[in-house]
C-alpha cells in the first residue's frame, strides 16, 4: 500500500544520504522524494512516498526515527492531509491537435509554460491521481517528455476552533 511519510530532520550535510542509505541498505523502496527547508532554517522537511505492507511501513518509520538527525516522522496516512506534486509535460501539438490540447489543459487547470510550433510544455499541480489522469488523456496525442517532482504533503488544520 502507498504511504506518504513526512520526516523533519536537522538541516546538516549528509543527512539526506543517511535517509536514502537506510532505504537502499534495508531494501525499502522510494517512489518519490522531495526535500527542502522549513520555517526554521535548521530544520528540513523530507517527504517520501513508499509502498509496502504495514509491517514494512512500521519498520520504515521506526528505522527513520532511529537516525540521530531525525526529529519527527509522520505517516500521512494517519492524518488528514493535502498532497501535491508538480509535473512538466511536453506534449505534441500540431495543427490538428493544438486546440484540443489547450482545452484539456484548461479542464485540468494546468498552464502552458513553453510553446513551440510542434509542442506545448504544460505545468500541472495536483495529487498523483490528477497528474496521472492528465498523462493518460494526453498519451494518445503524443507525450514527448515528462518531469515530475516528488509529492509534498501538509496536515490539514483542525476545522473546529
Amino acid at each position: 500500500m502507498k504511504h506518504t511519510i513526512s520526516v523533519l530532520l536537522q538541516n546538516k550535510p549528509g543527512v539526506l544520504s543517511r535517509v536514502t542509505g537506510l532505504f537502499s541498505g534495508r531494501g525499502f523502496n522510494i517512489e518519490s522524494l522531495a526535500v527542502n527547508q522549513t520555517l526554521d532554517p535548521e530544520v528540513s522537511c523530507l517527504t517520501l512516498v513508499t509502498t509496502g505492507p504495514d509491517s514494512i511501513i512500521e519498520q520504515i518509520t521506526k528505522q527513520l526515527h532511529k537516525l540521530i538527525d531525525v526529529i519527527k516522522v509522520t505517516d500521512m496516512r494517519e492524518v488528514e492531509c493535502v498532497e501535491r506534486e508538480m509535473a512538466l509535460i511536453r506534449v505534441k501539438a500540431e495543427a490538428a491537435t493544438r486546440a484540443e490540447v489547450l482545452r484539456i489543459v484548461d479542464i485540468f487547470r494546468g498552464k502552458v509554460v513553453d510553446v513551440s510550433p510542434k509542442s506545448y510544455a504544460i505545468e500541472l499541480t495536483g495529487d498523483d491521481k490528477k497528474i496521472q489522469a492528465l498523462i493518460d488523456i494526453l498519451k494518445p496525442i503524443g507525450i514527448q517528455e515528462i518531469v515530475r517532482t516528488g509529492t509534498i504533503a501538509m496536515a490539514r488544520a483542525k476545522k473546529t476552533p
Partner: protein, 566 residues
C-alpha cells in the same frame, strides 16, 4: 586561554574517564600522537593492524561496561577499521572511533590518503561525524560519547581533519547533553509491565529468552531473580551467555542453530515467551513461522525498531532491560495473588517435561581415548579456570564449542563477534579484555584458520605484557564451512583444508611467547595447567579430531525442532 585541538581531544578523553585507547599512527594524526606522548595518564596500546584496535576496544568496552576507544590515521588506517566497527554495530557495543582526515581544504580532492570514511561507515555506525569547524570539536566528542553509551549502545565515528586538530580553540565548559532528536526511552510503561506480569502469572509453559541487551544494561541480577522467583526456564542467545547462570537448573543453555535440544524444544512448545534484550535473529529463530508458534510473546527492548521486526510481538515493552525486569520483580513482590510456591508447583509438569528432554538429548559428544575432542578441551578449560576466566572466541566451530561447553555463570565474561561473525576477532579482543581486567585469566578459544587473521597481534600482547592464553582447537580445516560441505555438499571440501599451516609452537617462540602442543587427550590437562601457570602470552595448540562436527545443528531455513543430533 586557547589550546590546540589535540590538547582539547585529550581533555575530552579525560572528561570521559578514558585512560586506555587502542590505535595506530599515521600522517593525519601525527600531531595527536605528539600530544599523546605528553599525556601521562593515558595508555595508548599500539596494535599491529587497525582492525585489531577496534576489536580490542570492543572487548575492553564489554568487560568494563564503558565506551571503548580506538584511534587511527586517515585513508587505509580508517578503512582498516570498518570490519571492527561493523562487528561492534551488530553487537551494540559502545565505542568511539577517531579517524584522522586530510586538511579541510583538501577534502573532496582525492588527496593522498583521503577516503570518505563517514560515507563508508554510515550504515555500520550508530552515528558519525566529520568535524569541519574547530569550535564544533569538543561538543562533537561529548555528543559522540553520549550517543555511544546511551540507548541501544553502538559505535560512533569522528573524522578529524588535520587542520581542525591543529587549530587553537577555547575549551568550552561541560554542560549536560540535551539533544533535540535523540532521547531513548529507559523507563517501562507501567501498563505494559502490568500486562506482561499478568501474562506471566497465568502462563503454564513460560520461557525466558535473553540476549545481549541483558548484558549491556547490567540486568543479569534482575533477570536471575525473575527466573528463579517464577520458576521460569531461561535460554540465552550467543550474546546473552552469562546473563543467567549457565549451571543453574533452570538454565537451558543457548538456543538456535547450535542451541541445545531442550532449549529449542522448550521454545517450540512454550505458551509464553519473554524476550529480554534479544532480537529474534535468524540464527536463533530458524524458519520463522515455526518459531514459538503457540506462544504469546513479551518483548523488552530499548530499541523500538527491534520489536515486531521479525516476529509479531503481543506485549511490547520499550525500555532499558534492567529497569523493565526490576519493575516486573517489584510487581510480583507486591502482587497479592502471587505465591511463589504455587507458581513453582504449577510449572512443575513443564519443568518435568524439560528435564525429560535434557535426559533424552543432553549436550554431549562421543568421547575417545586416542584423539582430543574439542569439547573436552573446553570442558577442561572451564574446570581448570573454575569457570571464572574471560573467554573470547574466534568464529566457526571453535566459537560454538566455546559457547556450548564453557558454562558461563557471570556476565561480561564472554566476548564473541556474534552478529557479524568476524574471524580474527578473538585474539585482539582478548588483548582488549586483558587491558580492561589485568588480574583476570583471559583465554581466546580459537580456530587454526581464524587465529591467522590477526596473528600479528602477538607482538602487541607481548609489548603490553598481556598474558593472554590462546587455545587453538586445531582441526587443520576451516571447520565450520567444512561441516556444511560435509552435510550439504556431499563432502566436497572446496578450499577448506588449510594445506600449509604454520608451526604454532615455533611461531609463539618467534614472538617471545610460549608455545605448547597437545596431541593426546592425556596431554590436555598438563598443557592447560602449564599455560595457566605461565605469566606470558601462550599458544596452546590442541590437535583435535579433524572432522568433529558441532551438534545439535538446525540446517539453515529449517524449523528449530528439526535438529541434527550427535
Amino acid at each position: 586561554m586557547k589550546i590546540t585541538g589535540t590538547q582539547a581531544i585529550m581533555k575530552c578523553l579525560k572528561e570521559q574517564n578514558v585512560n586506555v585507547i587502542f590505535g595506530f599512527p599515521g600522517g593525519a594524526v601525527i600531531d595527536l600522537y605528539d600530544e599523546i606522548m605528553r599525556t601521562e595518564w593515558l595508555t595508548h596500546v599500539l596494535v599491529r593492524h587497525e582492525q585489531a584496535a577496534v576489536h580490542a576496544a570492543d572487548a575492553y568496552a564489554r568487560v568494563r561496561g564503558e565506551v571503548g576507544v580506538a584511534l587511527v590515521t586517515s585513508g587505509p588506517g580508517a578503512t582498516n577499521t570498518v570490519t571492527g566497527i561493523a562487528s561492534a554495530y551488530l553487537d551494540s557495543i559502545p565505542m568511539v572511533v577517531f579517524t584522522g582526515q586530510v586538511p579541510t581544504a583538501l577534502i573532496g580532492n582525492d588527496a593522498f590518503q583521503e577516503v570518505d570514511i563517514v560515507g563508508i561507515t554510515r550504515p555500520c555506525t550508530k552515528h558519525n561525524y566529520l568535524v569541519k569547524d574547530p569550535k564544533d570539536l569538543v561538543p562533537t566528542i561529548r555528543e559522540a560519547f553520549h550517543i555511544a553509551r546511551t540507548g541501544r549502545p553502538g559505535p560512533v565515528l569522528i573524522d578529524l581533519p588535520k587542520d581542525v586538530m591543529a587549530a587553537m580553540i577555547t575549551f568550552p565548559e561541560e554542560k549536560p547533553i540535551r539533544m533535540r532528536t535523540y532521547r531513548p526511552t529507559y523507563e517501562p510503561h507501567p501498563g505494559q509491565i502490568e500486562k506482561a506480569c499478568q501474562a506471566m502469572l497465568h502462563a503454564k509453559r513460560p520461557v525466558l529468552y535473553i540476549g545481549g541487551g541483558v548484558i549491556a544494561s547490567n540486568a543479569s541480577d534482575e533477570v536471575t531473580e525473575l527466573g528463579r522467583k517464577l520458576s521460569i526456564p531461561v535460554t540465552m542467545t550467543l550474546m546473552g551467555l552469562g546473563g543467567f547462570p549457565g549451571t543453574d537448573p533452570l538454565s537451558l543453555g543457548m538456543l538456535g542453530m547450535h542451541g541445545t535440544y531442550y532449549a529449542n524444544m522448550a521454545v517450540a512448545e512454550c505458551d509464553l515467551l519473554i524476550a529480554v534484550g534479544a532480537r529474534f535473529d535468524d540464527r536463533v529463530t530458524g524458519r520463522i513461522d515455526a518459531f514459538a508458534p503457540e506462544a504469546e510473546i513479551i518483548h523488552i527492548d530499548i530499541d523500538p525498531a527491534s520489536i515486531s521486526k521479525n516476529v509479531e510481538v503481543d506485549i511490547p515493552i520499550v525500555a532499558d532491560c534492567r529497569q523493565a525486569v526490576a519493575a516486573m520483580n517489584s510487581w510480583f513482590n507486591r502482587a497479592k495473588d502471587f505465591d511463589r510456591d504455587k507458581v513453582a508447583q504449577r510449572h512443575e509438569p513443564w519443568l518435568e517435561k524439560i528435564r525429560g528432554w535434557k535426559d533424552k538429548h543432553p549436550l554431549g559428544y562421543l568421547e575417545e581415548t586416542d584423539v582430543i575432542k574439542p569439547q573436552f578441551v573446553v570442558e577442561k578449560l572451564h574446570e581448570l579456570t573454575h569457570g571464572d576466566a574471560i573467554i573470547t572466541t574466534e568464529v566457526g566451530q571453535n566459537q560454538m564449542w566455546a559457547a556450548q561447553f564453557y558454562q558461563f555463570n557471570k556476565p561480561r565474561h564472554f566476548m564473541t563477534s556474534g552478529g557479524l561473525g568476524v574471524m580474527g576477532y578473538g585474539f585482539p579482543a582478548a588483548i582488549g579484555a586483558q587491558m580492561a581486567a589485568p588480574d583476570k585469566v583471559v583465554i581466546d578459544i580459537a580456530g587454526d584458520g581464524s587465529i591467522q587473521m590477526n596473528i600479528q597481534e602477538m607482538a602487541t600482547a607481548r609489548q603490553y605484557h598481556c598474558p593472554v592464553k590462546i587455545a587453538i582447537l586445531n582441526n587443520n580445516y576451516l571447520g565450520m564451512v567444512r561441516q556444511w560441505q560435509e552435510l550439504f555438499y556431499d563432502k566436497r571440501y572446496s578450499n577448506t583444508t588449510l594445506d600449509v599451516a604454520p608451526d604454532f609452537v615455533a611461531l609463539a617462540r618467534a614472538y617471545g611467547a610460549v608455545g605448547l602442543r597437545a596431541t593426546k587427550p592425556s596431554e590436555v590437562e598438563p598443557v592447560i595447567k602449564e599455560a595457566l601457570a605461565t605469566d606470558n602470552l601462550v599458544i596452546m595448540d590442541f590437535v583435535i579430531s579433524r572432522e568433529e562436527g558441532v551438534y545439535p545443528m538446525v540446517p539453515a531455513g529449517k524449523a528449530t525442532t528439526e535438529m541434527l543430533l550427535v
